[in-house]
């Protein structure tokens, strides 16, 4: 009986996505805001928009997923054989797609 109860409580957990954790460290959010302001404008308006954007992204993926997408993005700057490896792998596409979706959503919400 106890076990069945446990199961009932666990099932919703299994179906909920792990992306609700909102677990980005402040440091990662700051870096994003810094980069975002650098590529747009270093003013208060964009500080607000960029902060909003990273908060929206953090709602939609775990920090672990973001860190993996970040690693792939970083490697794509290089063109050596080992970096090439990461342009085609399925893993890259999966994580990048998730990031693209989160980015698109953040753009709608914040800009």
């Amino acid at each position: 009986m106890k076990n069945i109860l446990k199961l009932i409580f666990l099932v919703p957990l299994l179906f909920s996505t792990p992306t609700k954790s909102n677990d980005f460290p402040t440091n990662a959010r700051s870096e994003f805001v810094f980069a975002c302001m650098s590529s747009n404008a270093s003013n208060r308006d964009f500080m607000a928009k960029c902060s909003c954007a990273i908060d929206e992204i953090a709602k939609r993926m775990t920090y672990k997923e973001y860190a993996q997408a970040e690693a792939i993005a970083r490697l794509q700057y290089g063109a050596s054989p080992r970096e090439e490896a990461y342009k085609s792998v399925g893993l890259s596409k999966k994580h990048m797609d998730k990031l693209y979706r989160a980015q698109a959503a953040s753009e709608l919400e914040c800009f």
Partner: protein, 610 residues
């Protein structure tokens, strides 16, 4: 034999008195765990620190003690040195060297940049050198000679001796000019560490993708005078081999051992680059290094064994003469460079005490050799995914190649699929560590397979000379691209294996605290229990880690240091849009200028207990 006995033998070997004073001084410094005086920690390449303040019971509370920004983007391989109270940190191209004062909040004592007015000492522009670098702008670190010299092997192949106190140039010699036409030679580059033995410094060369004939060259540490040069292939006199005395698989190699294995003059652009981590045994007075792939990548145009590419070399460092050679991948068809590190361990192999050499090759086999005689003792796969060969024939030393995965057998313009490992190898240059406590080897690995299609290329000096298209993906049955493993080099078996989402490209370091450090491409610095692989610590550094861990003490306290830095600054890509760099969150086309955002480049992170 017990683990304890094993470690006693290992340390006894290091404790023997030595004949040459410069050597003995450097070897004495290597035994002092408060310093980290050579890239691999010691000549044996153990990458082991006998410090144990940070250990398996307290490593989980490790904190960042300080950080240092190198101010340079792109890949940061190798690691810093600590000599006394000074730390020496190098960067990717332009290969800046910093001396930091550990007594004074890491104040910069001096900064040296070999690129002046956009040019390297050899006369080439930095842009030209970058254009012929094969694999990112990396440099694998500086080394120290006890006469007070820091040696840098810059990307244009210049060997630069700096006064360790002031950073002033003592001498510069350009090993192999990086240009074409002007110098009449091909596009060699420098990325490997300069290796100090006695009063000499030796360097290899990179550039097998550009049709060079690589070599090891030894220079006098006092003045940079060239002492000897041993080519990886060609006539016997060029290679510094003795047909009667130099052996392979315990037999003399005979006359023209290399020339016979190349069609016509193909050896002249035969590749065989040398850019990994090397070993030296002062008792046997032997230098150990590996040579890389034959060029071109298209095997159809170079039938034969292509000796001595893909070869472990054992040489006398005084005159360069080869004692023994062992070719791991004759007639390479996959770009399995044989350059990886040589780890020298005195251990029991199949019940017998051996002066062993352990080498984790790109080709997916881990070799245990007798480093005195060159006898092959163990050759086993260290990733079960490896499929291009069934096994290594222990009589001939040759891998038994599977036709299905032979790109030459399949032919030009045929796409050979599902070859494991990919061209990156089961392991690239990132050095493994030897844990003297458990007797296990801590090995960072790739778990990546590939499709490989060779095509014909005509050689044009100084241009990429590859001749194969590749596509790579995770090994079948999984989605992870790397593993960090514990390896038994006697049995030839994996003891434990931790899957990682990405290839593990950082160098490992084991310590007497029972722990091993390694880093990941996402930027996590990790510590695991050496005996079991159990993860005990993880910290996200600012960039991906492809550098090597090191440890030292300052004022009696243990520190652990690691360089992070891979590719460009991802932050800007993530914020400015991924598919089209100019199409991001309202980006205003400032992207290309921002790609030079050097303030967010490589970072040295140094950890300590609180």
């Amino acid at each position: 034999m017990s683990i304890l006995k094993k470690s006693i033998i290992a340390s006894a070997a290091l404790a023997l008195p030595l004949a040459v004073s410069a050597n003995s001084k450097l070897e004495k410094m290597m035994k002092d765990p408060s310093q980290w005086v050579q890239q691999s920690g010691d000549y044996a390449g153990h990458r082991y620190s006998s410090l144990d303040q940070i250990n398996k019971s307290n490593v989980s509370s490790l904190k960042v003690a300080w950080t240092f920004s190198t101010g340079v983007l792109r890949g940061h391989e190798g690691g810093p040195l600590v000599i006394g109270d000074t730390m020496y940190v190098h960067t990717a191209i332009p290969n800046i060297v910093y001396a930091l004062d550990l007594n004074d909040n890491q104040r910069i004592i001096w900064k040296y940049n070999p690129v002046k007015g956009g040019k390297y000492p050899g006369g080439e522009t930095m842009d030209r050198v970058i254009s012929v670098m094969c694999c990112d702008n990396v440099n694998r670190g500086v080394n120290y000679h006890p006469n007070g010299t820091i040696v840098l092997h810059a990307a244009d192949t210049s060997v630069i001796a700096l006064d360790a106190k002031t950073g002033k140039e003592k001498w510069i010699t350009t090993n192999l000019h990086a240009g074409t036409g002007k110098y009449g030679v091909s596009a060699s580059t420098g990325s490997g560490q300069p290796f100090i033995i006695k009063d000499t410094v030796g360097v290899g060369c990179s550039g097998a993708e550009f049709g060079v004939r690589c070599n090891w060259t030894s220079y006098d540490i006092k003045n940079g005078k060239k002492l000897w040069r041993a080519y990886s292939m060609g006539p016997d006199k060029d290679m510094l081999v003795d047909p009667n005395k130099t052996t392979s698989m315990l037999k003399p190699i005979g006359k023209d051992s290399s020339l016979k294995t190349w069609p016509g003059d193909a050896w002249k652009i035969g590749g065989g680059s040398i850019w990994g981590f090397y070993g030296y045994d002062s008792k046997l007075n032997t230098l150990y290094y590996g040579t890389g792939n034959p060029s071109t990548w298209n095997p159809v145009v170079r039938p034969g064994d292509n000796k001595w590419s893909m070869t472990i070399n054992a040489r006398n460092p005084d005159n360069g003469m080869a004692k023994w050679l062992y070719q791991m991948t004759p007639y390479d068809e996959w770009d399995y460079d044989g350059v990886n590190e040589m780890i020298l361990v005195d251990m029991k192999v199949k019940g017998k005490n051996r002066q062993a050499l352990v080498h984790f090759d790109r080709n997916g086999f881990a070799y245990t050799m007798d480093r005195a005689s060159g006898e092959l003792l163990v050759a086993e796969k260290y990733d079960p995914a490896v499929n291009w060969a069934t096994h290594v024939d222990m009589k001939t030393g040759r891998p038994q190649v599977v036709d299905r995965y032979s790109t030459a057998h399949q032919g030009e313009d045929v796409n050979t699929t599902n070859i494991c490992p990919a061209a990156l190898g089961t392991k690239d240059q990132q050095p493994a560590a030897y844990d003297r406590l458990s007797g296990l080897f801590m090995v960072p690995t790739n778990h990546v397979c590939m499709d490989y299609e060779p095509f014909k290329v005509d050689y044009v000096a100084g241009n990429a000379y590859v001749g194969a298209t590749l596509s790579m993906y995770p090994a079948p049955g999984g989605t992870h691209l790397g593993n960090f493993i514990g390896w038994d080099a006697d049995k030839g078996k994996i003891v434990w294996s931790n899957p990682e989402p990405f290839s593990v490209w950082s160098g490992a370091m084991a310590t007497a605290g029972g722990i091993t450090f390694y880093g990941t491409l996402e930027g996590y610095a990790k510590a695991v229990e050496s005996k079991t692989g159990k993860e005990l610590f993880s910290f996200k550094t600012p960039s991906g880690i492809i550098g090597n861990f090191m440890s030292y003490t300052h004022k009696g306290k243990q520190y652990v240091g690691i360089l992070s830095g891979v590719g460009g600054w991802a932050g800007i890509g993530l914020a400015a849009g991924l598919t089209d760099p100019t199409a991001g969150l309202g980006a205003v086309g400032a992207y290309s200028a921002l790609a030079d955002h050097t303030a967010l480049g490589g970072v040295l992170t140094v950890f300590a207990l609180p």
